[in-house]
């Protein structure tokens, strides 16, 4: 009897969890669409920028590169070879030019 009761209890719990999961899935889709709408709004687009000062304040003294690229642009970072202090980045676009900006406070 104990096991049967436990079984029923678990089944009810799993049903609740399933509902919760479905709710989260729907909310995620809704929020993703909301973010897309907000970002694509023409007035918001006009104000969606940061200044060079904003970035420099986040990274004290570092050399900074800003990369703007079309959707689908591929950024590839090969795993460095053992013993070599050499790191690479390969940027490849199929649909438009990539813009890279060097931001250096000095």
């Amino acid at each position: 009897k104990e096991i049967v009761d436990r079984l029923r209890y678990l089944e009810a719990e799993i049903e609740d969890l399933e509902l919760k999961e479905k709710e989260l899935d729907q909310q995620k889709i809704w929020l993703q669409q909301s973010i897309k709408n907000v970002k694509e709004d023409s007035e918001n687009k006009h104000f969606s920028y940061i200044t060079h000062e904003d970035i420099c304040d986040c990274f004290n003294g570092d050399t900074l590169l800003a990369i703007q690229a079309p959707s689908g642009t591929q950024l590839e970072v090969p795993v460095p070879q053992v013993g070599q202090k050499k790191y690479q980045i390969n940027l490849k676009s199929n649909s438009g030019p990539i813009h890279v900006l060097l931001i250096n406070k000095e």
Binding site: E11, E21, S34, I35, L64, L65, A66, I67, K85
Partner: protein
């Protein structure tokens, strides 16, 4: 008893999936808050200065930021049509997307670090749909 065990396992898997999905939802909320806060800031700033900043002093979203030590030597090759770039670095680097940068700028009110004043929390809640406010309190 076997079925009980199976259901226990399924319950744990669902709990873990729900936990991950809640984190993803919270991340999306922070993204929305940060973006809307940035737009508000820039709008107020332009009203105050009566005009937009110089075009060459701003970076439009979306973007990635790469940071490396100022001692790093960077070698860059660019194709003539700018469709391909190759960078070589002699030192480590990090790459961050625009959402991450906005968080570092404080545009998400420190919510991601759990350090948010009650006043900022109220402001953050005003930037998200009412039905999702509870997730902000969760963060």
């Amino acid at each position: 008893a076997q079925e009980c065990q199976n259901l226990e396992m399924e319950k744990q898997q669902r709990i873990e999936r729900i936990r991950e999905k809640r984190i993803q939802l919270q991340e999306l909320l922070l993204q929305q808050i940060a973006f809307k806060n940035l737009v508000q800031r820039n709008r107020h700033s332009e009203q105050h200065t009566r005009g937009p900043p110089a075009v060459n002093s701003t970076i439009q979203l979306p973007f990635l930021i790469l940071n490396t030590s100022k001692r790093t030597v960077i070698d860059c090759s660019i194709s003539s049509d700018k469709f391909e770039y190759l960078f070589n670095f002699d030192n480590m680097f990090e790459i961050h997307n625009d959402t991450e940068i906005l968080k570092r700028m404080g545009m998400s009110f420190g919510l991601e670090a759990g350090k948010c004043s009650s006043k900022d929390l109220r402001t953050a809640k005003s930037l998200v749909p009412k039905a999702l406010e509870k997730y902000l309190t969760g963060i």
